[in-house]
C-alpha cells in the first residue's frame, strides 16, 4: 500500500494498469491489480525497472528529468497472449515519485500488423502481376516478331503505331520509317485510296471485315488476305488493327485447280463431241464408201462418155464429204488424218491467195512476214490450211467492226524447236474474260448466224493433233493468235499414197481376195474395185462367214472391216493368228472410225495396214500393191 489509502482505493478500481514508485530509486509504492496482472514480475519485486521490460530507462530518465513525462510502448505476456501496452510516466511530488499509467494498444497494433501484412501481400501481388504483364508483353513481342503474317495497328488518323517485321518486309522499310506514316506514304495513290476506303468501312460499321487484295506495288505477297478490325483504345476510339496474310500459294492452287477443271470440262466436251462425231462419221463413211466405190466403177465403165464425167463429179463430191467427216474426226481423235512433209509458208500463201478477194473487198491490208528457209513440218495440208483460213476469217470478221486502216499481219518464224505462225490484227481485240473461252466448242462472240463456235475449237484440235499449240497472245492493239508446230524430223513422213496407174493391174490375175464387211453394198463395191485390180473376189458379212469361206478357199488378200455383228474384225484376226497364221501378212483392215480406244489399240497391236472408209481406188491400189509385194506398212 502507498502512503495515501484513499488514492489507492480510487486507483485500484481502474481497468488500466497503474503504479506509483519512488523516483529515481524505483521502489514501487503502489500498484493496482491490473498492473500486477500484466507485469507479474512486479508481484514479488519492489523495483519498477525490474518488473517492466522493454523500456529504455536511460531515455526515460532523461525525458523525465527534462519534461517530467515519458511514453513507452511495451509488450508483455498474460493469459497466453501478447499484450501491447502504452506506458505513460509522469513525475509527481516534485520529482520524488513516479506515476505510471498504461493503456492497452493491442487492437491498434493488430490493425497495424494486418495492414502491413496485407500491404506486403499487395506488393507481392503487384510484382507478380507486373512480371506476368512483362512476360505477356515479351511473349506478344516474340509472337508478332515471328508471325508469318503482317500485323499492324493504325491510329484514328491512319498513322501506323505498331508494325511487325513482316510488315517491314512487306513495305520494304524499317519500322522507324513506317511508324507515324500513313498508307499514302507507303503505296501509290490508287492503292492507298483502296486501303483507306476499306479502313473507312471498318470504322463506319465497327465490324471486322476481310478482303482479298492484289497490290501491284507490294512485291512480297502477290495475293493478300487482309483482315481489319476496329480497336477502341482509351485514348483513341478509332484505331484499326489488321493482319495481312499471304494467300498466294492458295490462290495459285485455286487457279491451277480451276484450270484443271476447265481442261477436264474441255476434255469432257471434246469426248462428248468426239462420240457424236464418231457415231455420225461411222454412219456416213459406209454410204460414202459405197458412193465413192460405185462412182469409181462407173467412171471406168463409162470411160470416154459424158456419164464418166458425171461419175467423176459424184466421186469428187463424195470424197469432199469424206474429207469433211475426216476433219471433224481429227478434232475428236486428236490425230491428223494424213501426214506429209509441208512448208508452212506455202500453206499460208495458198490460204492468203484463196481469201484474197474477200480481204481486198473489205479494205484489209495483209502483211506477210514469212521467214525464209523454215524447216519442214509434218502434217495434214488440208487441215492446216483450214486452220490458217479460220484465223484469217476470224480476223477479217473482227476488222469489219473497225474503221480502216484494217490490217492483218501474218508472220512465220522459228521459235526454239518449233515453227511459229502468228496471225495478228488491229481489230477490237479479245476481252480478257473471254480469252479463256474462245477455244470452247460452240462458243462464239460473232453475231447470230455468222459464227458456229467450232472454228477455233476445230483449229486447236487440229494443231494439238499435230503436236503443237494454238494460243491467244497478249496484245496491246487487236488480237493475236500464235500457232506453234514441231519441226518435222527424219523420215517419219508418210507420203500420200502414190497414185496408181488406172490400168496398172486391171487385167492381171492376182489370185483371190476376200472382202469382209457387214454392209453388203460396200463389200460389193470394194470387191468390184478389187476385181478391176485383177483379183477374183468373195465377200463375207462378218468374221464367222469369213471363217467358213476360208475353209473352202485360199486367199491372197483379205480386207476386213472392224466393227461387225457376230465375230468382228479383231476376233477374226485372232482366229487367223490361231488357225491360219500364214494369212496374217496378207490381211489389211477397213475402218470407218478408228476413234474408239479399243480400235486404236487393236490396230496398233495388230500392226497391219488399214484404210479409212471411204477409200479411193488409188488408196486401195497402193494398199494391194504393198500387201502383194510382201510389204508391211504400218
Amino acid at each position: 500500500m502507498s502512503d495515501d489509502p484513499l488514492r489507492d482505493i480510487a486507483l485500484s478500481s481502474l481497468q488500466v494498469p497503474v503504479a506509483i514508485a519512488d523516483w529515481p530509486g524505483g521502489d514501487i509504492r503502489y500498484r493496482n491489480n491490473r498492473f500486477a496482472t500484466l507485469f507479474s514480475g512486479a508481484e514479488g519485486s519492489a523495483d519498477l525497472r525490474g518488473c517492466i521490460g522493454g523500456v529504455d530507462w536511460k531515455a526515460a530518465e532523461e525525458d523525465l528529468g527534462r519534461t517530467g513525462a515519458h511514453v513507452a510502448d511495451v509488450e508483455t505476456r498474460h493469459d497466453g497472449r501478447e499484450h501491447h501496452v502504452r506506458l505513460q510516466f509522469r513525475t509527481m511530488d516534485e520529482g520524488q515519485r513516479l506515476f505510471v499509467e498504461g493503456s492497452d494498444i493491442s487492437n491498434l497494433r493488430e490493425a497495424e500488423y494486418l495492414l502491413d501484412s496485407y500491404s506486403r501481400l499487395a506488393e507481392k501481388n503487384a510484382r507478380d502481376l507486373q512480371r506476368e504483364k512483362d512476360r505477356t508483353s515479351q511473349l506478344f513481342e516474340e509472337f508478332t516478331r515471328n508471325a508469318p503474317i503482317g500485323m499492324y495497328v493504325k491510329d484514328g488518323s491512319g498513322r501506323y503505331v505498331m508494325v511487325n517485321p513482316r510488315m517491314e518486309a512487306l513495305f520494304e522499310k524499317d519500322a522507324s520509317e513506317i511508324l507515324g506514316k500513313t498508307v499514302r506514304d507507303m503505296l501509290p495513290p490508287d492503292e492507298a485510296a483502296m486501303v483507306e476506303a476499306f479502313d473507312r468501312e471498318i470504322l463506319a460499321t465497327r465490324r471486322t471485315a476481310a478482303v482479298v487484295e492484289k497490290l501491284e506495288s507490294v512485291g512480297l505477297f502477290e495475293w493478300t488476305l487482309v483482315v481489319r478490325f476496329p480497336i477502341e483504345a482509351q485514348d483513341d476510339p478509332d484505331m484499326i488493327g489488321g493482319f495481312d496474310i499471304d494467300i498466294t500459294p492458295q490462290k495459285r492452287a485455286e487457279e491451277e485447280l480451276a484450270m484443271s477443271r476447265e481442261r477436264l470440262n474441255q476434255a469432257e466436251r471434246m469426248t462428248a463431241l468426239g462420240s457424236l462425231l464418231a457415231g455420225v462419221s461411222h454412219e456416213l463413211n459406209n454410204p460414202l464408201a459405197i458412193v465413192v466405190g460405185e462412182a469409181t466403177l462407173m467412171e471406168e465403165d463409162a470411160e470416154g462418155t459424158g456419164l464418166a464425167e458425171s461419175a467423176t463429179r459424184i466421186r469428187i463430191a463424195a470424197e469432199r464429204c469424206a474429207k469433211i467427216v475426216q476433219s471433224f474426226l481429227a478434232i475428236a481423235r486428236q490425230k491428223p488424218s494424213k501426214r506429209e512433209r509441208l512448208d508452212l509458208n506455202s500453206v499460208v500463201g495458198a490460204v492468203v491467195e484463196l481469201t484474197g478477194y474477200q480481204t481486198r473487198s473489205n479494205e484489209i491490208e495483209i502483211e506477210q512476214d514469212l521467214a525464209d528457209e523454215l524447216p519442214a513440218i509434218i502434217g495434214d495440208i488440208d487441215q492446216l490450211q483450214q486452220v490458217v483460213m479460220n484465223l484469217l476469217i476470224n480476223a477479217q470478221q473482227a476488222l469489219q467492226t473497225r474503221q480502216p486502216p484494217r490490217r492483218i499481219r501474218i508472220s512465220s518464224f522459228r521459235k526454239g524447236d518449233d515453227i511459229a505462225l502468228r496471225v495478228a490484227d488491229n481489230g477490237p481485240g479479245i476481252a480478257s474474260d473471254l480469252a479463256k473461252r474462245i477455244f470452247d466448242p460452240f462458243f462464239t462472240t460473232k453475231p447470230e448466224g455468222t459464227g458456229t463456235g467450232i472454228g477455233l475449237s476445230y483449229s486447236q484440235g487440229v494443231i494439238e493433233a499435230h503436236g503443237g499449240t494454238l494460243e491467244v497472245e497478249p496484245c496491246e492493239d487487236g488480237a493475236s493468235f500464235i500457232v506453234r508446230l514441231p519441226v518435222g524430223r527424219g523420215g517419219a513422213v508418210l507420203a500420200a499414197p502414190a497414185k496408181a496407174a488406172p490400168s496398172s493391174s486391171k487385167s492381171t490375175a492376182r489370185g483371190r481376195a476376200l472382202v469382209i464387211d457387214d454392209e453388203p453394198d460396200l463389200a460389193n463395191a470394194i470387191a468390184r474395185l478389187l476385181q478391176r485390180l485383177g483379183f477374183a473376189t468373195d465377200t463375207a458379212g462378218n468374221g464367222n462367214e469369213a471363217v467358213a469361206k476360208l475353209e473352202a478357199e485360199d486367199y491372197e488378200l483379205i480386207l476386213s472391216d472392224l466393227r461387225m455383228p457376230g465375230m468382228d474384225g479383231a476376233a477374226f484376226f485372232a482366229w487367223l493368228g490361231e488357225h491360219r497364221p500364214d494369212l496374217l501378212a496378207r490381211t489389211a483392215f477397213l475402218t470407218g472410225d478408228t476413234l474408239s480406244p479399243a480400235a486404236v489399240t487393236f490396230l496398233e497391236q495388230a500392226g497391219r495396214p488399214y484404210l479409212s472408209k471411204p477409200l479411193t481406188r488409188e488408196e486401195l491400189s497402193a494398199l494391194v500393191d504393198e500387201l502383194c509385194s510382201g510389204g508391211d506398212s504400218q
Binding site: V71, D73, R86, I105, S106, N107, L108, E110, A111, E112, L114, L115, D116, Y118, S119, A122, N125, A126, L129, Q234
Partner: protein, 121 residues
C-alpha cells in the same frame, strides 16, 4: 475513367501529398485524433496512399475482407466515418480535384463503410 484519374492527378507522388494533408486534418480533429495516438503515421500514410490510388484506378491494394479484418477491433463509429469522409472531401478540394472526380473517390470510400464501421469481427 478511374485509371485515367490516377494518371490525371499525378500518380503516387501526388496522391501521397493529398493523403499526408488528409491525416494532418484527421490528427487535428478532436473526434478522430484519439484513434491515431501511437500509430506509425508514416506507414499509415503509405497504406492510405495506395488505397486511395486504387480508388483512382491505380494498382489494386486491399480487398474489402482485408479492410474488415484490419479494422475489426478499432470500434470506429458512423459519425467518425462521416467525419473522415468530410475531411477527405475538403482535402481533395484543396488539391483541386474536380467535383465529379472527388465524388468518384468519395463514392468508393463510402463503399468501404460496411467493412470499417462498427466492425467487431
Amino acid at each position: 475513367m478511374a485509371s485515367s484519374l490516377f494518371e490525371k492527378y499525378g500518380g503516387f507522388s501526388e496522391v501521397r501529398k493529398v493523403i499526408s494533408d488528409f491525416y494532418d486534418g484527421v490528427l487535428s480533429d478532436d473526434m478522430l485524433s484519439h484513434h491515431f495516438e501511437g500509430v506509425n503515421m508514416h506507414r499509415l500514410i503509405d497504406h492510405q496512399t495506395r488505397m486511395i490510388s486504387s480508388f483512382l484506378g491505380g494498382p489494386a491494394f486491399l480487398t474489402n475482407e482485408q479492410l474488415a479484418a484490419a479494422h475489426r477491433r478499432l470500434t470506429i463509429t458512423h459519425l467518425e466515418f462521416d467525419r473522415l469522409g468530410k475531411i477527405m472531401d475538403d482535402t481533395l478540394q484543396s488539391h483541386d480535384f474536380a467535383g465529379e472526380d472527388r465524388q468518384a473517390v468519395l463514392d468508393q470510400i463510402e463503399d468501404t463503410r460496411p467493412f470499417i464501421v462498427g466492425n467487431s469481427g
